[in-house]
């Protein structure tokens, strides 16, 4: 039976639904563990070893090591969970969000000050800008 998912044609956007949540369970729970200072310290001391304690896929682990947030999201990560990695790295939410757009930190900040990304041309995949 097919489900109603009207949000698959929104460009540059992954909706964290029940299916994505299922895929990303261990990845997101790893992120959650970073809310404890002692875990942050252990992760920073040896990232690979810490990740190997979690039943995550190799792709998920590599995406975390690369700090490739778009890849993490494609593999079931959710931004509010992934933000714990950013916090561990001392990054702000703006730095994290900007890192997914292909813009530099300065360009992204400037875009936000000028009123943000326009919805024009950004509502449907393949829409003319």
């Amino acid at each position: 039976m097919s489900l109603d998912k009207p949000y698959t044609d929104v460009p540059g956007t992954t909706i964290f639904d029940a299916d994505m949540s299922r895929m990303g369970y261990h990845l997101n729970q790893f992120c959650m563990s970073l809310m404890k200072a002692e875990n942050r310290a252990r992760f920073k001391a040896n990232e690979r070893a810490y990740l190997d304690e979690w039943p995550m896929s190799e792709e998920q682990k590599q995406a975390v090591l690369d700090r490739d947030l778009n890849r993490c999201i494609a593999l079931g990560g959710n931004i509010y969970f992934l933000a714990k990695i950013g916090a561990t790295d001392g990054k702000s939410f703006q730095q994290m969000a900007g890192s997914m757009t292909g813009m530099t930190e300065e360009q992204y900040r400037e875009m936000m000050i000028k009123g943000g990304r326009s919805p024009e041309g950004n509502r449907y995949t393949g829409e003319k800008k």
Partner: protein
Amino acid sequence: MAKISASVFTSHVPAIGAALDLGKQGEDYWKPVFAGYDFAKQWEKEQKPDVVFLVFNDHATAFSLEMIPTFAIGTAAEYQPADEGWGPRPVPKVIGHPRLAAHIAQSVIQDDFDLTIVNKMDVDHGLTVPLSLIFGQVDAWPCPVIPFAVNVVQYPVPSGRRCFMLGKAIRKAIESYDEPLNVQIWGTGGMSHQLQGPRAGLINREWDNMFLDKLINDPDGLSKVPHIDYVREAGSEGIELVMWLIARGAMSDVNETKKGNAPTVRHRFYHVPASNTAVGHLILENN
């Protein structure tokens, strides 16, 4: 009997909390944001609410993927500000109102809304940033708060319609409480923002202002807007705005059994940006 005197709506951007906690409110970037809340601080001193019923969402703080309730009401005596990875915000602990919260849970569940009753929960920026914006930097929050958490993180999230109807059930519950309490209901989150993917940074000033207009004048119509419109127009995280419909649904003018007059708009504010987000704020007095 208890009564709802007003509804207050505001964004709850974490960077606003950080700016306050680090003493940056005088910086040019932040000045216009905080100026939008000067009115609320003065107004609250006159209103002196006995309880705030605060609708917010948890951001992977109290609720991990182990369990995410769609609607959760806090019935605890107190709640600690959470460590979200940057350390807990240096703000007072939140004092609850267990007796009223339990009364509301009983009434609202009997009205067919499946609330999860929570007795232990740390509260994140979704709850503490609105308190800071509306009450300012204080040693203790001026009144007890009932935290009401809505899942807007893991889709499908509740529809705007369901949130609006839930607000009506909450009003009925509060008005059947046997103490003469002055209760405010706050709806928080939004406005337009997207924090993920190549489309991060989306802001839609026009849609946000349409939302504010309709929230005031046509909440019933607004409650019928489907999720996909929020995602397309206001960004994937703009979906938080459905929580505003809970607070709006608790106002007297949409009470079907004893219809009150339209609320008085005491304050309206809109500003872009605070970090990644459009900031909206509205105060409606019940009539």
